[in-house]
Each structure stands twice: as structure tokens, then as C-alpha cells.
């Protein structure tokens, strides 16, 4: 599903912050991405959701070389990837339901066709009573769950999460991890970038460790 071959990345004329990354992510797999701050985790995630182009090497997503993708093809690839941003990126003028439904709305679907589906998902992530609330009045944990719900509402084949438990207490972190595991069991490949080692210890999964701009994989 995802293939990196000798991928390198540098910003401008600076040093390479990612060097010779070679790995694969298989469909319906689960992996953690970890490493010290500044190791390049967010940059790697940006490469994975096509927000950056590598300086060198080959990235293949869903069988397509990303270097050959046209702008018109990007949305179709992005719709197969769900993203949970570290800072949630919920839109303050939309309700929780409207924020979560955004990936369906950009497909041109009417609210009547997806409302029940979104409400069901919100209940599943424990936000059934916060459907009409706006992000400014949600707690950190609620925002996190809304962001996760938005990432999975369109049933993506690949889910990326950047520090999804960074702003929540250990109890809620475990609940969120269970949510990701459930998604994985339903067929989604999951990659979670995190610093939280106790959290990683809770689930037996492949670990990608970034250090000194290089990647080591522990099965």
C-alpha cells in the first residue's frame, strides 16, 4: 500500500532531516512511529499525506508513484487517507457533526444522506451528546475524538495520527488507542506517531523509530 525507497528530505539548502528511508506499510497493518522531538516524525507524516515531496527517492502510495501524480489526482488519493492532526484542526464555525461530516460533504453528498452515519460514529466515540456543540466549548479529549471521527468517517484505507494522545490523560489515551485498534480490526492500516512509550507498550505492533534522520523498524 505504501512503499518508500531511499527517500531523503531536506528543507531548502539545509541538512537532510530524513535520509535513506526504505520501508513498506501493508494494508490492514498497525504501526507506531516514534523518536525524539525534531527527529522528523511530522515531516514523514507530511510525506505520507502528500503535503511534501521528497528531495530524493521514490514514494509509492496505493501503487502510484507520488512524483507522477497530477494536482487533479491528489484529492482522490487523499480521500483514501485519514489524518488526525496534533492540533485537531477543527473548524470553529462548524458543529461537531459538521466538522466530522466534512470529508463526506466535499464529496458532494447531501446532509440527509450522511447525518445518521455521522451521528452513529459520534456516539461510538462517546460524543453522542456533543453533536451540536462547537469546538471552542469542547474539552481537549472531545476535540481529539472529533478529529479522529472526522479522519475515519469516510472509511479510509490508511489512517495517520500525529500525537493523538498528546493532550489527554492516560485513561483517555487508552480509550483512544482502543478506538484505533478497533479501526485496524475493521480493515484500516494505522500509523500513529507518538512519544508515549507506555501507550505503545499497551499494544503489540510494529515500531518505526526515527533517530538522527534515519529510520529503524522493530517488529
Amino acid at each position: 500500500m505504501v512503499r518508500f525507497e531511499n527517500v531523503g528530505l531536506r528543507y531548502g539548502l539545509g541538512p537532510e532531516i530524513l535520509s535513506d528511508l526504505t520501508f513498506r506499510i501493508e494494508p490492514n497493518s498497525f504501526q507506531f512511529l516514534t523518536g525524539p522531538s525534531g527527529a522528523g516524525k511530522t515531516s514523514l507524516l507530511r510525506l505520507l499525506f502528500l503535503s511534501l515531496q521528497p528531495t530524493r527517492g521514490l514514494i509509492s502510495l496505493f501503487g502510484r508513484d507520488t512524483a507522477t501524480l497530477t494536482r487533479a489526482e491528489l484529492p482522490n488519493i487523499r480521500r483514501r487517507i485519514g489524518i488526525v492532526f496534533q492540533d485537531f484542526r477543527l473548524l470553529d464555525h462548524l458543529t461537531t457533526l459538521e466538522n466530522v461530516a466534512l470529508p463526506l460533504r466535499v464529496l458532494g453528498r447531501e446532509e440527509s444522506s450522511y447525518r445518521a452515519e455521522v451521528v452513529e460514529l459520534l456516539r461510538w466515540v462517546g460524543l453522542g451528546d456533543r453533536i451540536d456543540a462547537y469546538p471552542p466549548v469542547l474539552s481537549g479529549g472531545e476535540k481529539q475524538r472529533a478529529a479522529i471521527a472526522r479522519a475515519v468517517i469516510s472509511r479510509p484505507e490508511f489512517l495517520l495520527a500525529d500525537e493523538p494522545t498528546g493532550n489527554v490523560d492516560p485513561h483517555l489515551a487508552r480509550r483512544l488507542l482502543r478506538l484505533f485498534v478497533e479501526l485496524h480490526k475493521s480493515g484500516t492500516a494505522v500509523l500513529i506517531a507518538t512519544h508515549d512509550i507506555p501507550l505503545m507498550d499497551l499494544y503489540d505492533a510494529q515500531r518505526f523509530v526515527l533517530s538522527d534522520s534515519r529510520l529503524t523498524i522493530y517488529d
Partner: protein
């Protein structure tokens, strides 16, 4: 103030209404609407002023072109009344003349009043006699032939077609319209630039919306169209406020300002804006709304290119 008036942006919205992806109200959006309203008001006033000047100068010219004057210089031993009647006969029988009337001694005294003062006896002064000739609408009489026959029949008679005056008026009118158009061009340019930069700034304030839509898989056209629709509304609302105020100003000026009758002694024939002026203001509003929408679209596309 009631609680509903204090509704916060993130308070609950009635069910069954989906919010637009680009926020309806934001500080940047309100500021943009206000800028558009102010600049449209100024541009609308300029459009109206140019239209007023243009129609006023056209009016002066039309009025003067429709009139010629016959002047009969006094001479010793001549019966001036008989000379005037003879000239009137010639003029009235000429082709293209609608009417002709001789000014009385009182009319002439009124004309000379600014120089000679009131109650002056003109009988001792060698004042010329004047005949005002009104030409028919659209007529092009042979004024040279008329002048020649007048001079032949009535010694001392000359025909003044106001050509010198008309040329000066034309030049003055053209200069005024040119200055007006120059000011209008400057105001419209300033309006365009203000709207352009204010729109870019307002779009920049919604950058998070562009990015989130982009990352959830929206096509560039979807994002740009959503912004263009929202900003077109900002443009139309601001333009309607500014254009409406400028139109209202000219309506009030037409109702309460000097009318053609009041301004009888002046060169301004009332200050009523014609349909062309109001049409110009309406076109301005539409152009500004279109500019706002187009700028938002261009800015969103530029930002999306950076994201991609």
C-alpha cells in the same frame, strides 16, 4: 438586551441548517464589507458627479446652439423700431427659425443693470437693439446667408451665432468632464486595489479552512468556489450599502438641491442624476462584487498550490 442578541458564534444553531464551509461572519469579513461599502460609496459619488458634469455641459451647449442673436447698432437719423421690425420680418421668414422676438428697452436695461445700475434712462444712450432668435429643433439654417441678407437690408445689423462662446464652453465642458473622468479613474483604481488587498487579507484569515478542506480531500475547484461564493456575497453586501448610499445622496440632491427653475441665472440646470448615472453605480456594485469573488478565488488557488 435579550440572550438571543448576545448569541456567541459557537452557540447552538437551529437543527436542519448546515453551516457553509466558509464562515458567514468573521471580523475580517465584516472589515472587508465595510471597506467595500466605503470605497463603493466614494466611487459611486464620482460616477454620479461625472454624469452630472457631462449632462450639464451637454445642456449648456444644446441651449446655446438653439439660439442666435441679431444686434442692430444705433445710427443717427434712423428709426430704430422700423429697423427692428424689418429685421424681424427677415428673420421670421428664414428657414429653420422657430420664433424671434425683439428685446424691449426694459429688457436691455435689465441686461445692463450690473454695469450701469438701476433706473438708468437709456434713451440718451446709443444702446444697440437685440433680437433673440430661437431655432427649430434639429434645424441647420444657413446662418451665413441670413447674416448677409440682414446686413444688406438693415445697415448696422449683425448676427451672432455664439460661436466664440460655444467654443469656450465646449473647452470648459470637456476639461471638466476630463478632470471628472480622471478622478473617477483614480477612485475606481483605489477601490479595486483596496478591495483586492482587503480580500486577500480576509482569505488569509480563513487559511485554516482552506487547509482543512484540502486535507480532507476537497478538490481545488470546490474550495475556490466555496470562497468565491462567500466573498461574492461580502462584495454584493458592501457594494449595495455603498452604491445605495451614493444613489440615495443623488436622489436627495435631486429632491432638495437647486432645481432648473431655482438655478435660472446660473449655468447649472438642476442636479438631477440621469438613468445613466444610476446605471453606472449599479454596474460599479456588480464589478466590485465580481472583483471580490475573483480575488478570493485567485488567492485560494495560490494558497492551495503552496499546500500541494
Amino acid at each position: 438586551m435579550s440572550a438571543s442578541r448576545l448569541r456567541l458564534p459557537w452557540s447552538r444553531r437551529p437543527e436542519g441548517r448546515t453551516a457553509p464551509v466558509v464562515p458567514r461572519a468573521s471580523i475580517a469579513g465584516k472589515a472587508l464589507t465595510m471597506i467595500i461599502a466605503i470605497m463603493t460609496l466614494l466611487a459611486g459619488l464620482s460616477v454620479g458627479a461625472v454624469d452630472l458634469i457631462s449632462s450639464a455641459t451637454a445642456g449648456w451647449q444644446a441651449q446655446i446652439v438653439q439660439q442666435v442673436t441679431v444686434q442692430i447698432r444705433p445710427a443717427e437719423g434712423r428709426d430704430m423700431d422700423a429697423e427692428v421690425n424689418k429685421a424681424l420680418d427677415i428673420v421670421r421668414n428664414a428657414a429653420g427659425v422657430a420664433s424671434a422676438r425683439a428685446l424691449s428697452q426694459k429688457n436691455i436695461a435689465d441686461l445692463l443693470e450690473p454695469w450701469l445700475g438701476k433706473n438708468v434712462d437709456l434713451s440718451d444712450l446709443p444702446t444697440p437693439r437685440l433680437i433673440v432668435v430661437e431655432l427649430s429643433d434639429g434645424a441647420h439654417p444657413d446662418l451665413a446667408a441670413l447674416s448677409a441678407s440682414l446686413e444688406k437690408a438693415v445697415p448696422g445689423a449683425t448676427l451672432d451665432d455664439h460661436r466664440v462662446w460655444l467654443d469656450r464652453l465646449r473647452m470648459t465642458g470637456s476639461t471638466l468632464v476630463g478632470i471628472g473622468l480622471g478622478i473617477l479613474a483614480l477612485v475606481v483604481t483605489a477601490t479595486g486595489l483596496s478591495v483586492f488587498f482587503a480580500t486577500r487579507s480576509a482569505v488569509a484569515g480563513n487559511r485554516d479552512v482552506v487547509e482543512v478542506l484540502h486535507f480532507v480531500g476537497a478538490r481545488d475547484g470546490f474550495v475556490a468556489a466555496a470562497f468565491a461564493r462567500r466573498f461574492m456575497r461580502f462584495g454584493l453586501r458592501g457594494g449595495a450599502i455603498g452604491g445605495g448610499l451614493s444613489a440615495l445622496f443623488f436622489l436627495c440632491l435631486g429632491w432638495f438641491g437647486p432645481s432648473a427653475g431655482d438655478a435660472g441665472g446660473t449655468l447649472i440646470r438642476g442636479v438631477t442624476l440621469g438613468p445613466g448615472g444610476y446605471l453606472g453605480i449599479a454596474v460599479l456594485v456588480v464589478l466590485i462584487a465580481a472583483l471580490t469573488a475573483a480575488t478570493s478565488r485567485i488567492t485560494v488557488f495560490a494558497h492551495l498550490r503552496k499546500l500541494g
